[in-house]
């Protein structure tokens, strides 16, 4: 079964794909939409998770992974900004230095998760972020036309990223 849940993974690199967001908050659900759309394309054994984005849950989700790809929607307050941004956290350790703290309800966000993971030696061997720029942040289901326009690109990028490490 493609995109299998935990427990069915064959021996080999452990790959975790994590969609972050809330599918009832329009484009904030982009990360979840992308991993769900990519699920049939992913090799057997790849773990697929969907999370709200709270930092410590991310630390648990990617614990022990050889590769973790986190797909999330973000709001940039400075350019660049549209489309999909790929950040190789492992290869570009300073890439998140300029990010401010998350404006989450009562938790910490993805940037803090990366920083905490680094401080506590709880990062996966390789961590890649695929960040889709938010266009609409209201309540409700469904992505905005703008984000729909590049969600497919994110699906392709995700599948390609996983193929670099996935078993089989």
């Amino acid at each position: 079964m493609p995109g299998a849940a935990e427990g069915t993974r064959p021996v080999g690199p452990r790959v975790v794909v994590i969609g972050v967001g809330n599918s009832m908050r329009r484009d904030d659900g982009a990360g979840i939409a992308v991993v769900e759309r990519a699920r049939p394309l992913l090799p057997e054994g790849v773990e697929v998770r969907t999370l709200g984005g709270e930092a410590t849950s991310l630390l648990d989700a990617w614990a022990g992974a050889d590769l973790a790809v986190v797909v999330d929607a973000v709001r940039w307050q400075h350019p660049p900004t549209a489309g999909v941004t790929r950040i190789d956290v492992t290869g570009q350790p300073d890439a998140l230095t300029g990010f401010g703290p998350a404006a989450s309800s009562h938790g910490l966000g993805v940037a803090e998760a990366v920083a905490l993971g680094r401080a506590l030696d709880r990062l996966p061997r390789r961590l890649v972020l695929l960040l889709l720029t938010l266009a609409e942040e209201g309540h409700g289901e469904g992505l905005s036309p703008a984000v729909e326009g590049y969600a497919e690109e994110a699906v392709v990028l995700l599948a390609a990223e996983v193929s670099t490490a996935a078993p089989g």
Partner: protein, 432 residues
């Protein structure tokens, strides 16, 4: 007249689960306005639920909050089951309470160590805490994970549990699935006791609030999943009477409604109220920890000490979860059938941050006609604003940066559903 307007904006990677802003107006050295703007989702969900099937609210409302989905599931189940005239079997009730304990452990561990403790330990964030007090953060992560794991085993997954349905669960766990949690809960209870000791060494600013305290109360247990609504002002009502005693007022600057007690005014829900009204119902181990907690007492009206109360409640939740697992027998059926019938039902449970009320009216085909969701943050907003006003008046000499930090600290006491995990999204001081 000179005007000084400062607009501080959080930059970069931002989640959008909730947003908040605070605006302070100072005129000729006097605080003339303190406004906390909160954007909350329940209004949207109330509209979204109209016309949906009566079986859907547990799944839909779980998406209101990523930190306390179980609270929304449990309040909605309770309300719709009441409307349909259904009472769940005792083993299913126990299983629900176990699931809720998992959420309390997770939410309280997160708040105590990652959001609140940095304020008292003189570090700017959880990240600095991880660098300076790594052992504390490791312990916090382990403690939180015990709560997560309860939610995974009972709820199907930790974020937005999928095993909850009207009448009970889609599948009841086998005892052998729960037993591995018992050993870890014993550790978690000890870790929580150490947490009470740790946070009791903190220096707490002096602040006494006079808001009426409101919480669920159950004579035989620390109220989480059910009870009567009581207050320290003598209120003692059924959950179904809630709207006769509490009202929400629309405030122009906020999409959330401000809760008021009819003819009584401002009130407070959450850990301080729960603890002060239910001290006698705490499990013995938690009550003993509270007795030893320096400065806490049996009634707590200092919101800065809410970290002590959360720690005591974590002990209680671990102990209660352990008791339920040890006494667990697999239920004969995972859920009681819930057939629709025309009616109205009310539900209230204690979310980690306070009383969460739901009310649904459904028709005889099970279609939802109206929905009311009154979350703790809306109920507490008036009290939080009152505290902030006091705080700003008393600390007007501070510069904007320090004033912002102090206000954020104060808001963190209540852990409201707004964007205040580390900084406000938008904080403005207007000095005229």
């Amino acid at each position: 007249m000179t005007h000084k307007v400062r607009d501080l904006t959080v930059e970069g990677l931002a989640r959008v689960e909730g947003e908040g802003a605070m605006h302070v107006v100072v005129t000729d050295g006097e605080v003339t306005d303190v406004r906390l703007r909160i954007y909350e989702p329940p209004r949207f969900f109330e509209a979204f639920l109209r016309g949906r099937a009566y079986t859907e609210p547990p799944d839909i409302t779980a998406r209101i909050c990523g930190i306390c989905p179980v609270a929304y599931q449990m309040s909605s189940c309770q309300a719709i089951e009441q409307a349909c005239g259904v009472t769940v079997d005792p083993p299913l009730r126990a299983l629900r309470r176990l699931l809720y304990c998992g959420e309390w452990i997770e939410s309280h561990a997160l708040h105590i160590y990652f959001l609140h403790a940095p304020d008292f330990l003189g570090v700017g964030s959880a990240l600095e805490l991880a660098k300076d007090h790594r052992e504390l953060v490791e312990k916090a992560l382990q403690l939180k994970k015990v709560g997560n794991d309860i939610m995974e085993v009972v709820g199907g997954r930790a974020i937005h549990p999928i095993n909850v349905r009207l009448g009970g669960f889609y599948r009841a766990p086998a005892k052998r699935e729960l037993l591995p949690l018992a050993e870890r809960l014993r550790w978690a209870r000890d870790a929580s006791l150490e947490t009470v000791e740790l946070v009791s060494t903190f220096d707490f600013p002096d602040l006494e609030i006079d808001h009426e305290l409101v919480a669920l109360h159950h004579p035989d247990e620390y109220a989480i999943t059910e009870g009567r609504i009581v207050s320290d002002g003598g209120l003692d009502i059924e959950v179904s009477e809630f709207l006769e005693h509490f009202a929400e007022e629309h405030v122009e600057r906020s999409t959330s409604l401000h809760g008021r007690m009819i003819e009584r005014g401002r009130y407070l829900v959450g850990p301080l109220a729960r603890y002060s009204l239910n001290y006698e119902q705490l499990p013995a181990v938690a009550r003993e920890a509270a007795e030893k907690a320096k400065g806490l007492g049996r009634v707590c009206r200092n919101p800065f000490r809410s970290i002590q109360v959360r720690a005591v409640e974590t002990v209680a939740a671990c102990d209660e979860a352990l008791r339920i697992i040890e006494g667990y027998t697999e239920p004969e059926r995972p859920a009681v059938p819930v057939e629709p019938r025309a009616g109205t039902g009310h539900g209230a449970t204690e979310a980690p941050r306070g009383l969460l009320y739901h009310r649904y009216s459904i028709d005889d085909g099970g279609i939802i006609q109206t929905a009311d969701i009154i979350p703790p943050t809306a109920q507490n907003q008036d009290a939080i604003e009152a505290d902030l006003r006091k705080l700003v008046v008393a600390n007007l000499e501070l510069d904007d940066h320090d004033l912002q930090h102090l206000c954020e600290q104060s808001i963190r006491n209540y852990d409201p559903c707004i964007s205040c995990s580390t900084h406000f999204l938008d904080f403005t001081v207007e000095r005229r």
